[in-house]
């Protein structure tokens, strides 16, 4: 385990600079956010910058995963659930997994609680975390799960390997000028995923002089944030609590694009053309 290696002062930069400097070919990149605060703008910048051979970590995988896989950015996906708007695994993921298109996709599959524990261990810079065995068949197929004995009770428990992304990317409602970030509404694994990573990018709806956190809000201090990017609408078409609702029509349109290799190509061309 390495200590945290990136200790630059948080800085406010544009999206191309943040992704360009911090997301490298071959890197392990976590993009987190479930249902709300899905960091789509950052993901699309990764596509535009044509990053390749990424290990993508996305616990609750969805159309963001599907787009990055379909664009050929990903060679390994670490996840615990993957579904599009119809509840089924989306088409680009299935095409990569089943037909190596546009490239072969390896998967490393866990449960949500195992992923949470892996981030927590990574954030604490210990090599593994301990869970109770549920009897699921997953450990037979996932090398980052093992059994250890408790040195006190002798009982067998499940160990999962720590997860330390090279960079974690999340979206939030707002940041202040010093890089402190506030997330409102249901927040998934974002805080642990940011703390676990060697570097982090936070895209936000707005940058303010001073945060005035709401009750129950999660505040991520600026000293664990590498780069802050003003990206209003950066989680659309997902939801941002207090800003906008989920756009089901847009998500369905993406599902239609995903269903067809050619339509995806057109969509990617259009996306790339904006850079």
């Amino acid at each position: 385990m390495h200590a945290v290696s990136v200790r630059t002062v948080p800085k406010i930069v544009d999206l191309t600079t943040a992704v360009g400097e911090l997301v490298h070919d071959g890197a392990t990149v976590a993009l987190e956010g479930v249902d709300q605060l899905v960091p789509y703008a950052a993901a699309h910048e990764i596509v535009r910058l044509r990053r390749r051979r990424l290990t993508l970590v996305r616990t609750a995988s969805d159309q963001l995963t599907d787009q990055l896989v379909g664009a050929g950015c990903v060679d390994t996906l670490v996840f615990s659930h993957i579904a599009g708007p119809d509840g089924r695994p989306p088409a680009r993921f299935l095409d990569a997994l089943g037909h190596d298109w546009p490239a072969a996709l390896r998967i490393e599959e866990h449960t949500h609680p195992a992923m949470a524990a892996r981030y927590a261990a990574g954030a604490a810079r210990v090599p593994f975390a301990v869970l109770r065995d549920t009897g699921t068949d997953l450990p037979q197929h996932t090398p980052t799960v093992a059994t250890v004995r408790c040195p006190f009770t002798g009982s067998a428990v499940t160990a999962v390997a720590a997860l330390v992304p090279d960079v974690t990317v999340v979206h939030a409602q707002r940041a202040d000028r010093r890089g402190n970030v506030e997330l409102r509404g249901p927040v998934g694994l974002q805080s642990d995923a940011v703390h676990a990573a060697r570097a982090s990018i936070v895209t936000v709806e707005e940058i303010v002089d001073d945060l005035e956190p709401a009750p129950g809000a999660v505040v991520v201090p600026g000293s664990v944030v590498t780069a802050v990017v003003a990206a209003p609408g950066g989680a659309a078409p997902s939801r941002v609590h207090g800003f906008y609702e989920r756009d089901d029509a847009a998500l369905q349109e993406w599902a239609d694009v995903s269903a067809d290799r050619d339509r995806l190509g057109t969509w990617l061309d259009a996306l790339g053309g904006t850079s």
């Binding site: 659930h81 089924r88 609680p113 524990a117 549920t134 009897g135 998934g188 805080s191």
Partner: protein, 256 residues
Amino acid sequence: MSVPTAEEIMTLVAARAVRDRQVCLVGDGLPAAAAHLARRLHAPTAVVVHESGAVDVRLRDDDPLTDSTVADRALTHLALGVLYEQWLQAGRVDLGFLGGAPGAQLDRYANIGSTVVGEYDEPTERLPGAGAAAEIAAWSGETVIVVRHRLRGFVEQVDFVTAVGHGTGPLDRGLLGLRGRGPARVITDLGVLEPDPQTAELVLTAVHPGVDVEQVRAETGWDLQVAPEVVTTPEPTDTELAALRTLHPAGTEESS
């Protein structure tokens, strides 16, 4: 009141499984609707915990069930690590709901396969995966499974055990170190199945209005046991339907 849909029947029957004071863990869609419906009908003190981490969500009488209202009416939001470890794994959830992902398998001992159909490395169908289902199944005081009843999904034995129900018989949960009673009932669009207390095998105990037992057998991939007295699910009352439709004012939402 218009005729209830299959989804509405399933939601109402699921709601009846919720008792007062229980801590219920629910995912979006049907389970969330069932739990909040129960709070409006017969279990006003049930504590509804969403898989998003929203704890003790108390919708007001006219609130629809949306992401916004759930977030706004929560007592607090737990970090997911706390929800998974200190609530679910620690045994603080009394009642957990498990949904059938589209294409998922369920077997005669109520084990769930929502990872793959076929071999893991060469599946005939890739499914969404575990999410938190393995832990909900393992650590809740009891679980209720809500799933569409189709021959393809109701199999003798799941190809991949994503979440353990009753394993291969009544002793398995104990041997595996799991907590609670396991699946207490399986609610489908055709009827209700419950584990036999002696064998832990699922037995058909109720059919929904207009469904007959043969229809259920025909959609079940094993030799389905049928209770001596199969009851017919009571028709939803206008009160129940009205309460449910307040939660989903735009009409019934598809979910699974």
